[in-house]
Amino acid sequence: MSRALHAEWTKQRTVAGPAWLLLATIALTVALSVIVTLATTYASSAAAQDLPRLSLTGVYLGQAIVAILAVMTITDEYSSRMIQITLCAIPARPTMLAAKAAIVTALVLVAGTVAVLGCMLAGRLILPAGGFTAAHGYAPVSLGDGATLRAAFGSVLYLALIGLLSLGIGTAVRDSAVAIGLVLGLLYLFPIVAHLVGSQHLERHLEQIGPMTAGLAIQATTNLRALPIAPWAGLGVLAAWAAASLLAGGVLLKLRNA
């Protein structure tokens, strides 16, 4: 296993792609959060705002880049036929997939932590200027607050789980474009369809089982009762999706010719 890990680490380290994608994850996540926090002012918001959640909006975009990184980890090997060499070196296919999963998780945890800290910093610096001050009943965004810490830490875990979900789908599909289409479809279409079905009962159920809608419940710090699913339970739903996709990918990897 340690040799497999070392091999996967070398693959990620020695090509430019992963490093650029990790930088892009950080840059785009923080950029979207900055734009959203700049655009939201106390005067323009009709209802009470959940500031930590608002500051973490960038994760909506950052997860797409994490998905590319994770999908490419395996689909690139198929398109360049590298997979045959990889499997000659490590014939135990589950070990190979586990090593890839471990490396992807480690990389996303590091990049995700930087991105989330950037988002929190943006929220802390920008939101008070938009009128979200103590005078209006808003405390500055701070990791010292228990719920905010959970939202930030949970967002990092969320990104790591998105990486695992994408890796599983990439392993099952073997084509990068199709895999990324599936991942982003799974993430983005659940909330859109849930919103359009027009039945509150069905909408709530769809939001409880959608990987993104359930997983991002971890970002909520206020009005937790109105959430379709509790924060940690929501992250659990996403973890189940990730486990199922890795399992499906692993089984197909074992059964199929490379």
Partner: protein, 533 residues
């Protein structure tokens, strides 16, 4: 002794490749990959399937029409089905009037004072008798009290009215959609109003003191009969609030009370009932939320009238075609993958070298590919929405929901517009795929450009202003092509994208996407020519 054999010469005529041949080659490449053809059909099927999934469970809340005195919960709900106005559009025609018959020409003048508001208590799901009656509250900005000339008692009849409003001053409104602003006036200070009927022309006047008059405007009603109903009216529209968690808007019934002086009449007024005036609760209270405490009582020599409802275009009570088009989002993602792979697949398999050997002018290859993928996507989008829209609307109506009527022309625009939308997005994916040469990057970029802004615009906690900008400057502006309902400045409503109101018009929205696609094609063309294949 050797015999010299002539070298092989093709019998095909020598000539340059025509664009038609290139187009044929690209079409053959698409047609003969079975997976791609199946995927295109699957995209169409998914759009139709989600037209069913997006509508079968849909129930709008309806309006509470029967309070339960014992439990305080609403006993029965009504699904509104508004009448149609003279122009064929759904209208709200619900108010309280005190009127008499006018034959031929005539003038009515009255003093209006103290316009005050009523607000219904509870909410649509729990309302007691007292809640339904309404309690004193803020007067609505578009609460209306004034003089009206109406063609008849049929709902949706032609009318013209001069009125004092809650905060929008004196207005002359006619035939539900037309609104002329008069001078600003306070709802508390007395105001004199005058309405003059001469043939089919109606003129509205107003005065602050009853002696010096200014004309507010002139209305011409083509279908006005000789015998009309004319008199005083009061109404107050439901107040709309944004519901950030549920999305869209909710409404609460309101009422308004106004005190009228004794009306001064001139012209062909009929004597009518004893006392001359008939008090009527006009309109269907199942069409728009209303308070139940409406009526008219004598007040001095005049009347104190309380009314509820609205007189104007109907907004926010029905469903639009957006539910039937839920599947377009799924179809889009499939076609984005298809569009990107149409070029990145060639790079991955090395076919691109053969393609460029056969057609060294690379820009032409890009154009041929764009035409083929655009045609495929257009057919998928237009055909699938042509089936989805009637299917989805049928299911919605079958479940008792009210769907806004749309003209055949609008349906056609919706079908062709959806086709154009998916065609432009597929070409955008092709262009981005050409520039990046990577399927994953291209698919992500295009999805992040068109689906993510739409998602952020309503599913996140963004304020309305930021959401509107997202739907103006990103390719998601093109979803405006699905708008079938109109916004009216004279109706206060929360016009949100999730209710089917977009900040741009359908044509401009599509043009924004078109500009992105064109820019991507130009960049792709430049990159293609300056780079090794």
């Amino acid at each position: 002794m050797t015999t010299a054999t002539a070298p092989y010469r093709s019998s095909l005529p020598v000539g340059r490749d025509s664009f038609g041949q290139l187009l044929h080659a690209e079409w053959t490449k698409f047609r003969t990959v079975r997976g791609w053809v199946i995927t295109a059909f699957a995209a169409a099927l998914l759009i139709v399937l989600f037209a069913y999934l997006g509508t079968f469970a849909h129930h709008d809340g309806g309006i509470c029409v029967g309070p339960n005195p014992a439990t305080g919960t609403c006993r029965s709900f009504s699904h509104p089905s508004p009448p149609l106005g003279p122009g064929g559009e759904p209208v709200a025609d619900t108010y309280y009037s005190v009127s008499r018959t006018l034959v031929g020409n005539g003038t009515i003048t009255v003093r209006v004072s103290s316009l005050t508001g009523l607000v219904q208590g509870g909410n649509g799901h729990s309302a007691s008798v007292a809640d339904m009656a309404g309690a004193p509250g803020r007067v609505q900005p578009w609460a209306k009290a004034g003089l009206i000339v109406s063609a008849g008692s049929k709902l949706g009849s032609a009318y013209a009215a001069v009125m004092l409003t809650g905060t929008h001053g004196v207005r002359l409104q006619y035939d539900y959609t037309d609104d002329i602003a008069g001078p600003r006036a306070s709802a508390t200070a007395p105001r004199w109003l005058r309405l003059t009927r001469s043939g089919r022309t109606l003129k509205g006047y107003e005065s602050a003191d009853g002696s010096s008059w200014t004309m507010v405007g002139t209305a011409t009603l083509p279908a006005l009969p000789t015998k009309v109903q004319a008199g005083m009216f009061v109404t107050s529209p439901p107040s709309a609030q944004a519901q950030p968690l549920a999305g869209g808007a909710g409404s609460q019934a309101t009422g308004a009370s106004a005190t009228f002086g004794q009306p001064a009449l001139a012209g062909g007024w009929s004597p009518g009932a004893p006392g001359g005036w008939t008090a009527r609760d006009v309109g269907d209270t199942h069409v728009i939320p209303t308070v139940s405490s409406v009526g008219s009582t004598p007040s001095g020599s005049g009347f104190a009238i309380t009314g509820s409802g609205d007189l104007g275009p109907s907004v926010g009570v029905g469903d639009t075609d957006k539910n039937a088009l839920t599947g377009v989002f799924i179809g889009l993602i499939v076609l984005i993958v298809l569009g990107a792979m149409f070029i990145t697949g060639e790079y991955r398999r090395g076919l691109i070298q053969t393609t460029f050997t056969a057609t060294p002018r690379r820009g032409r290859v890009l154009i041929a590919k764009a035409i083929v993928i655009a045609a495929v996507a257009f057919v998928v989008g237009a055909a699938a929405s042509a089936i989805s829209i009637p299917l989805g609307n049928h299911i919605l109506q079958h479940n008792g929901n009210y769907v806004y009527p749309t003209s055949t022309l609008t349906e056609l625009r919706l079908i062709l517009g959806t086709g154009l939308l998916v065609a432009l997005v597929a070409v955008l994916a092709l262009a981005v795929g050409t520039a990046l040469r990577r399927g994953a990057g291209a698919v992500t970029a295009v999805i992040a450009l068109i689906i993510l802004p739409y998602l952020l615009a309503f599913a996140s906690a963004l304020p309305a202003g930021a959401s509107e900008w997202l739907l103006r400057i990103t390719p998601a502006a093109a979803f405006a092509v699905q708008q079938t309902v109109s916004q009216y400045h004279q109706v206060s409503w929360v016009y949100t994208p999730s209710d089917g109101y977009y900040p741009l018009s359908p044509a401009v929205g599509l043009a924004v996407l078109g500009a992105y696609t064109l820019a991507a094609l130009l960049i792709a063309n430049r990159v293609l020519r300056t780079r090794d294949a």
